[in-house]
Amino acid sequence: MDPSMYLLDLVVFIGIFGIMSLSLNLEFGFTGLANFGKVVFFLIGAYSYALLSQAGFPFYLCLIIGALIAAVFGFLISLPALRLRTDYLAIVILTSGEIIRLIVKTEDWIAGGDWGTSVAPAIALPGASAHAGILVNIGLVYVCLFICFTISRLLTNSPYGRVMRAIREDEVAAEALGKDRAKYKAQILMLGSAMAGLAGGLYVQYLHYVLPGMFLPIVTFTVWIMVLLGGPANCWGALLGAALVEVFDRGANLAKDLLTLPTDASNLQYILFGVLILLVLLYRPQGLLKESAVKTRATERVRSLGGAVRNKED
């Protein structure tokens, strides 16, 4: 294969998983919602896209409706989130994800069951080179990534973002200060799920097929590694984490061709991921990039004056 294609393919994957990572970062990094079922919403977006595009909808509607359906599921998941503590919620989401995957796997009529089904590319260019096709995909994916990134940044650097963090730190105190935590949790899970659904749609239209085997729980954990590695509660960190993990993933696959190992190197990457996550949690628990403070016009004004005020006092 042309090495530049390999590189461009990597860029697409970083974009798609960058969206996933940003969405988990909103849920876990900022709001403390341990969503161990990211893959469910990815799956829902993916299958929605596949079925809608087969029904003849244009690609942008497939992406938007897929994201909305994922958001509805996000809302449903938020209902137990009101009653359950973080760790129990994690178990509920994890298992419900597996249930949904097993349903699409065994119900052949939905989308080909275990064998999956083919998906048309979002923007088909008849007669164009593979290069052009992948560049179009990069354009599409990075427009979506930019939108998600902008929403994340605006939301987290506002009074709303302050409430998200407050709920993460002490939800009872936040509630006693008038914040309806149920509402906030539902909104964030809906937004995060919509973003994951969008990523799922982009993913299957890029790969041209969808099958249940693409949505194993390992996808969830990969996204978790991205967030923990890059730095929870930092939007740039989420992107950095996504890039690093994807590069690492490719590296392990390349190593397979270059090195003669007694085992398959692409399986080794799971072990290496495990080691990586341990090292991060032990030596850099805040991730590579630190949490960024809430930046609003008012706080930045005070911050810029801060030095002067302090000098006067000292």
């Binding site: 506002s158 407050a166 936040a174 008038g178 004004r301």
Partner: protein, 254 residues
Amino acid sequence: MAETLLRVENVCKHFGGIYAVDGVNMNIREGGIWGLVGPNGSGKSTLFNTILGLQHPNSGGIYFKGQRTNNMAPHQIYDLGVVNGFQIPRLFPSLTVLDNMLVAARGQQGDGFFNSLFLREKWQKQEELLTDEALDILELIELRKHIFSTAGELSGGQRKLLEIARALMAHPTLLLLDEPAAGINPVLGKKVFQKLQDLSCSGMTFFIVEHRLEILFEFASWIYVMDKGKTVAEGNPEDIVKEAAFYQAYLGKE
């Protein structure tokens, strides 16, 4: 006579067989500082929690401005104007001191999902004013120079002060404080009470649990004494020190 703000009517709260609050009646009118004293385990904090909606009473009624609040969620009770300062501060440790203050401010336009994204100009203006207000309060409690420290970096006494300051940002009609002077140096503790008294003159009402009786009795206008889940005495501070029940509750003397 000022209007009744908070009415506690025969409230019971039990955990298993233990009656933490056992038929308490109170009538708190608008304005002034109202004190609640009693030995440890007499049910003061549990009573506060039921007023705040953090726990729901098993029986009896709690009314704020005539509205029954028994089964309301804490954020709804906050919306009515009842705010509290926790006995053990429950700050947001990795947020800055300033962010801890701002998160509590009442009526923010930017804490809604769509507003935060699309009405940025509007809430940014409001936040400028709120920030100035926060800085004024922080100045008073000597935390002005720590505004960009995280709350987790503060000392125990400073956390306590920030807890009170944060509650003030919520512009309460009724502010419940659980041992505000505990862990704060006496001079500053008195200064805090002085400030509360100033605020009470402008219409805010305080209901305060405090073991530092010398401070509380100096500022409070009415004292309730609780023992074993019941109110055993009430009156103004001058009279309450003469009450036998007060001594019995606190010192176990006849």
